[in-house]
Each structure stands twice: as C-alpha cells, then as structure tokens.
Amino acid sequence: MTLIDHLPVFLIAIPILASLLILVAGWWDRRLCYPISLVTILSQFGAAVIILAQVMREGTVRYYLGGWAPPLGIELAIDSFNGFILTTILLLSAAAVIYARRSVEHEVGPEKTIAFYVLFQLLVTGLVGMTITGDIFNLYVFLEISSIAAYALIASARKPRSYLASFNYLILGSIAGGFILIGTGNLYAATGALNMLDISRLLPASFELATVHAGFLFLVIGYSIKAAFFPLHIWLPDAYAESPSAVTILISTVMSKVSVYALFRIIFTIFTTAYIVDVFPVTGFILFIATVAMIAGAVIAIAQSDLKRMLAYSSVSQIGYIMFALGVANQVALEGGILHILGHAVMKGCLFMVAGLIIYRVGTSRLSDLGGIAKVMPISCAAFALAGASMIGIPPTIGFMSKYYLVLGALEAGHWLYAAILLLGSLLAVGYIWRFIEIAYFRDGRDRGSGAARTLEAPASMLAPMVALALLCLFLGIFVEGLMEIVGPAASLLLGGA
C-alpha cells in the first residue's frame, strides 16, 4: 500500500495528533496554537480534495482500519456523496479557523486560547469522522466527540449567558445521543451487524419488525434534534447567538450539515427508499414538517431584534429546505438538497462572519444600534448583501440554483402546493435579509466618529475568508455545471443507483 491509500485514516488521525500537539506547543508558546491548527485543517482539506478526485475517477474508496475487513473491523467508506460533504465541511472549517484568530483574541480571552484551539480541532475531527465512517456505531462515537467539544466551545464566550446556552444544548444533545444509541441497538438486534453496507443488505428481511420501525424512529428523531429540524430546534438560537463568532460559524455551517448528512445516510443508504416509501411511508410527513420549518423559521427570523439570533432562526428555515429534498426523495430534488447543503454552508458562513465583524468592531449585534453601519463597514455590508441575495435565491447565485432544483424536483413529483410554499418561503427570506440591508444602508445611525475617513473595517485575516465566501456564493452559482458532475452521481447513489 502506498501512502495515498492511507489518506482516509490520516483525515482522522492527524487532527487528533494535532490537537495534542497544540496542547503541548501551547504551554511552550501560546502563539503556536493558531498556525498548527491552520496547517492541519488546510492539509486535511487538501487530502479531502485528493480523495474526492480519486472517488470520482475510480468509485467508492474503502479503507479497513488496521487491515480488519468488516464485519469484524471498522471501515471508512468515501463515495461521491460524503466526499462532497467532506470537502464542503473542510473548506468551511478552513475559513472558520482563519477567521478565528482575531475573534478568539477578542471574544474568548488569552487564558483560554489553548483550550479553544484544542477543542476546535477535536470538533473538526469528530465531524470529519462522522462524515467518512462506514460503521453505524462509529458514527455515534464521532457524534459524541464533536458534541462534547461543541458544548465546551459554546461556553467559551465571556458572556455568562453562554453557559446557559451550552447547558441547554448539552441536555438536548445528550437526549439525542441516547436516542441514536437506542436506534443503533435496535438495528443491531434486528440484523446482528454494525457496518452500514451489511445492515442495508440484511435489513430487508426484517423490514416488518417493530424493532426496526422503533430503531428508525429513534435514529431519525435523534439526528433531527442534532440537525435542529424544526420542532426540535429549541437549543439552536441560544447556542448560535451566545457562542463566540468563530464557533458560531463552525457549528452553524458545518455541524448541523453533518447531522443532516447522517440523516440522509441513514435514511437512504441503510433503510433505502424501498423502506421509506413502501414499508414505512414517512416521506409525506417529512415533506410537510420541512415546509412548516421553512415558513416558521423565516417568520420567527423576521421578528428578531438581534442580528445573530435572526440568522440563527434563518438556519432553522434553511434546514427545512434541505429536509424538503429528503421528503420529495427523487433525483432532481436530492440534487437540489445536496447542493443546498454546500450553498447554505457557504452563505450562512459568510453572513455569520459579517455578524461577527460587527460585534468585533461595534460591540453589539442589536439591529436597532446598527443604523448606517454600511458607511463605516462598506466591504462587510456588501458581502452581507451578496450572501443575502444568495439566501433569498436571486440568480445567478448558488442559493438560486439549489432552490431551482428543489422546485423542479417537487413539480416532477407532483407536489405543486409544496413547490409554491417553497417559493413563498424565499419571499419571507427577503423580509429578514432586507431588514438588515435597509438598516445598514438607508437609516442614519448615531454619529460614529467625526472624521469622514474613519472606517471600522476589520483586519484582513477576518475580511479575507468573508469576502472569499461571498464571492463563492456567486461563482458556485455561475459554474454550477462542474458541481453537478459530483452532485448528480451522489443523488443517484442515494436513490440506490450506481
């Protein structure tokens, strides 16, 4: 075996080693934490791109840990779907870690810097592990690694309210973890296997068992709590609004997406479409709830008075769009859903970065205090406008393309009404995005410093990832053809095709 064959395991092993290295190096000199973290995540991203290219060339990459083939061993399996997700989450993690440096100095404090980077690295490790594992129990273990790191990271802000937000998330997250554990146990009891491929092969024989139905529900509800799918989203607004900006970016773009990925993986790869359509028809129900989520999330977002909280509720609404694809469950809609996982990660990352910059410079994210902010932070507000346009779905942005495929898929499946409500949801997105634009550009605020030359624009290390993500919203939409070459096979793979 050459080195390149071992790349999948490096994706997990290297960041774990790096987190220990950060701890040791941090004792020696605190300034070393950031470069180590940055280099690790960038090299992970490089490895992910190489693996994705390999997957697109040769098909699914399977790696047996320690050389033990399943069913005895644990395997890492990367196909076009999770290769795509892997590249997405590492891209966003890289952007978040570049952004984190100044944000940590400002919001976390020097005494907690080392701990912050160690936990950040562990969170990324857990999420990468969740994405590439081919074993359902391993999925749970990585989920808990990432969750525990996330609880601590949310509480690392200097605000006392962040402790409460973190505790609430801890309680709900642990209930979710417990449900996932029970569901995994049920599947093990029904099939005697833990490898995802083995389970999906053995499961059709026991489709009618109540054990399997219960396991399905436990898994879906557990991961829905983690993904903040609408009625189970109550932990989300506090956790997003009270945590440090860099953490908000990571958990809003990466963590919820990975939970959605796990949901897709469980529903389509393990249970297959035969189960959710014929044996235990849930797609209609999921479609209905997803539609409610889109509307309700957007309506509550409009009612918020705080920028970060508004964006948090907008996330609830956008998760609804992704779950909409799961409810429609045909090729075109799934392409839209997978595209929206990338699209929402990029645009929400950019929007939260703008919110973080505003907190960094102005010290508040209350909308009423931000009048005329565009005069002093022109680049940030322009980035917000671009990413916001993508959120609304104005062509040619990535947000437009994913919603276009979603609507097309819904029409193909004959869900006229739902397609219409999806468009209505986009109109509601105009409501909350425009609110900030209007306040920032057209309302006169307090006088911020007298000199006209005075600008509050943030340092380059925070501006660069934000501008890059804003431009990505545009370019990914224009060059969507290239993306579809990955997303198309991924969607047909989920539906059981080659």
Binding site: F137, Y140, V141, E144, I148, Y151, A152, A155, P160, R161, Y163, L164, S166, F167, L170, I171, S174, I175, G177, G178, L181, I182, G185, Y188, A189, L194
Partner: protein
C-alpha cells in the same frame, strides 16, 4: 389474556425494565427544576440504554467470552454489546463532567441552579 400478558411482560422483562428506567430519566430531565437533578436524570436515562444493550448480548447459560484451551466447549455471551457500552459509558462520564462544570460556572455567575431562579435572574439583568 393472562398468557399474552405473560408473553408481553415477563418473557421480555429486561426490555421493560430498560424502558421504565428510561422514562424515569426522561421525566427527571423534563420536570426537575434543579440543574443537578436534570443531570442525574440524564445519567439514569443513559444507564437504561446501557442495560438495554447488555441484555441484548445475554445468552442463557453463557459464560464470559475468554479464550479456552483446545477441546473445551463453552457457550459464550455476545461480547460486542459490552464493548460498545464501554465506549458509551466513557461518553456518559464525559458529558456528566462537562455538565457539572457548566453548573459550577452557572452557580458562580448567577448564584442559583434552579430554573425558576435563573429565569428571575435573567429578567432582572
């Protein structure tokens, strides 16, 4: 009727015990005001799941799955659920540790650890 009740409850009483414990835990999580009691509820909830797994692997008359010399025949219990639960116990311990340290911080900041008191404190600030 009696027989079906027997079938339903006593033949699978291990699962019923797990379910009852789980519900006790969930009740404590939802209904208790004190944050420490919530964590205790979480622990009961997790323990119920551990019991569920352990009883899955049980084989009547089975012995510990230890390698025996050639020629000795033995019936083993399934060791895999035990191994899985060892991992899950570690997870449970870590979650409890994080939760308790958060409660310490909350107490330092607000001086109370019950939900009603916390709401009052939050409203006052």
């Amino acid at each position: 009727m009696i027989e079906s009740f027997y079938e339903l409850f006593f033949a699978r009483y291990n699962y019923w015990m797990a379910i009852i414990l789980m519900l006790i835990g969930l009740y404590a999580l939802i209904a208790k005001q004190n944050l420490v009691k919530k964590l205790i509820g979480l622990n009961i909830f997790q323990t119920a799941i551990f019991l569920f797994y352990i009883s899955l692997g049980e084989v009547r008359g089975g012995t510990a799955p230890i390698y025996l010399p050639e020629g000795v025949d033995a019936l083993y219990v399934n060791p895999l659920p035990h191994v899985l639960i060892l991992t899950a116990i570690v997870v449970g311990v870590s979650v409890t540790a994080v939760g308790l340290s958060l409660i310490v911080r909350i107490h330092e900041e607000y001086g109370v650890i019950d939900e009603a008191g916390l709401l009052q404190e939050l409203r006052r600030r």
